[in-house]
Subunit: 222 residues, 2 copies
C-alpha cells in the first residue's frame, strides 16, 4: 500500500546548498493540499510534507517558521476559491448568498483551518485581505453604514465558520439513543425534523440562519 508520499527520487541529494532552490512557498502549499486531499489533516505532518517534496524535514524550515505557517499558506489558497463575483454585479442579497455558501463549502472540508483563520491577522494572508476588500466595498455600496460593515462581516463569518463544522457532523449526531424517554421535547423535535427534511440537515440550518442574517443586516441599509 502506497501512502502517496513515497519519494520517486532515485539518487540522494548531497548535503549543501543546491544550485537552484528545490523548495518554494507555492510548491509547499500544493504538496500540503495533496496530502490533505489524500488522508485529511492527520496526513499533513512536516515529515510527510518533506517526503512528498523529496527533501529532509529540516529543509522546510528555510521557507516557513513553523507548521502554523504551512496552515496559513493553505488557508490563503482556499480563500481564492471563495466566490465574491456577486458584489457589484446584482442585488446585495444575492451577492452575500453566493459568497457565504461558497465560503462555507470551501472550509467544510478544511475545518482544522478554522481556528487558524478565525484569529489570523489579515496582513499575514494577502488573498484573504483581497477578499475583505471586495466584500466590505460591496457592503458599503449597498448602503450599510460604514461603522457597521466590519461587525456585519464578522457576524456572517462567525456563522459560516460554525456552520462549516456542522457539515462534517455525523448523521446521527442528534440521536438521543436510550435517553429518548427522558428528553421527550428534544426527541420529538429531532423526529419531526428528520421526517420533513429532504435537503441535507446542515444545509437547512445554514439556509435558515443565513437568510435571517441577510434580512437583519440588510435592514441596516440607509
Amino acid at each position: 500500500m502506497d501512502d502517496g508520499g513515497t519519494p520517486v527520487r532515485a539518487v540522494r541529494r548531497r548535503a549543501g546548498r543546491p544550485a537552484a532552490a528545490v523548495l518554494d512557498l507555492s510548491g509547499i502549499t500544493h504538496a500540503a493540499l495533496e496530502l490533505i486531499g489524500g488522508k485529511g489533516y492527520d496526513g499533513l505532518t512536516m515529515a510527510a510534507l518533506a517526503r512528498k517534496l523529496e527533501v529532509a524535514p529540516s529543509a522546510l524550515y528555510n521557507h516557513v517558521e513553523s507548521k502554523h505557517d504551512v496552515l496559513v499558506l493553505v488557508e490563503d489558497h482556499l480563500m481564492s476559491l471563495v466566490d465574491v463575483s456577486g458584489f457589484g454585479a446584482g442585488p446585495w442579497e444575492d451577492a452575500v448568498r453566493t459568497w457565504a455558501w461558497s465560503y462555507r463549502d470551501a472550509f467544510a472540508t478544511h475545518t482544522p483551518l478554522i481556528p487558524v483563520i478565525a484569529v489570523l491577522p489579515v496582513t499575514d494572508a494577502p488573498r484573504t485581505l483581497a477578499m475583505y476588500e471586495v466584500v466590505s466595498t460591496g457592503f458599503r455600496d449597498a448602503g450599510i453604514p460604514e461603522a457597521r460593515v466590519v461587525p456585519a462581516i464578522v457576524a456572517l463569518e462567525s456563522f459560516i465558520f460554525g456552520s462549516a463544522y456542522d457539515v462534517t457532523a455525523p448523521a446521527n449526531i442528534f440521536d438521543p439513543g436510550n435517553m429518548a424517554e427522558s428528553t421527550p421535547g428534544f426527541t420529538a423535535a429531532v423526529r419531526s425534523f428528520g421526517d420533513e427534511q429532504h435537503e441535507r440537515p446542515a444545509d437547512v440550518a445554514f439556509g435558515l440562519g443565513l437568510e435571517a442574517l441577510i434580512a437583519g443586516i440588510g435592514a441596516l441599509r440607509e
Copy 2:
C-alpha cells in the same frame, strides 16, 4: 518554578490494584479543568493530568479510552454553566439572549473544545442533552413549528461557536498594515468601526448577528 503539577505524594504507590480506586471521572474532569485554567489547552497532556492526579499516565486509560474522552468530560461539565433559566420564565427572545451570551462566554476560553462539541453525538454527553431538552421545549412552546426547532438551534449554535473564536482574536486582527493603500474600502471600514465602538468589537458583532437571528427565527412562530 512550580508548574502546578508537582505531586505532593511522598511515598510511592506499589504496583497492583489499590484497595480503593484512586481515580474517577469526576476527579479527572476537575484535574483537567485546573490544568486548562493554569496553562491553557497546551498544558492539558495525559502526562500532566496523571501527575496532577498522582498516578502513572497509563492509569488514566482504565477510565477513559483516549484523550478525546477527557475533552468530552470537560465539554459536558462546561455545558452546565450555560444559562437556560430564561426558557419558560419570560419572553422567548430574552431566554434566547441569556442562553446565547452565556453559551458563547462559556466556550470563548475553551475554543479547542469547539471541534469536539460541533460533531459530538448528544448521547455521549448527558448534560449537553439536558440543555437541548430545555431549549427545544422552549422553542416549541414559543410557537416555533416543530420541524424548524432543530435547524433553528443548530443555526444559533453555529453562530455561537464561530463567535467564541472571535472573542480570542487579537485586537489588531483587521489591521491591514502596509497593505492599507491597496485595500481602501476595507481600511476605511475598519477605521470607522474602531472610531465609533465603545464595547468590545467581538461583542458588537455578536450582538448584531444574534439580534438578526432572533428576529428571523422568531418570525417563524405561529
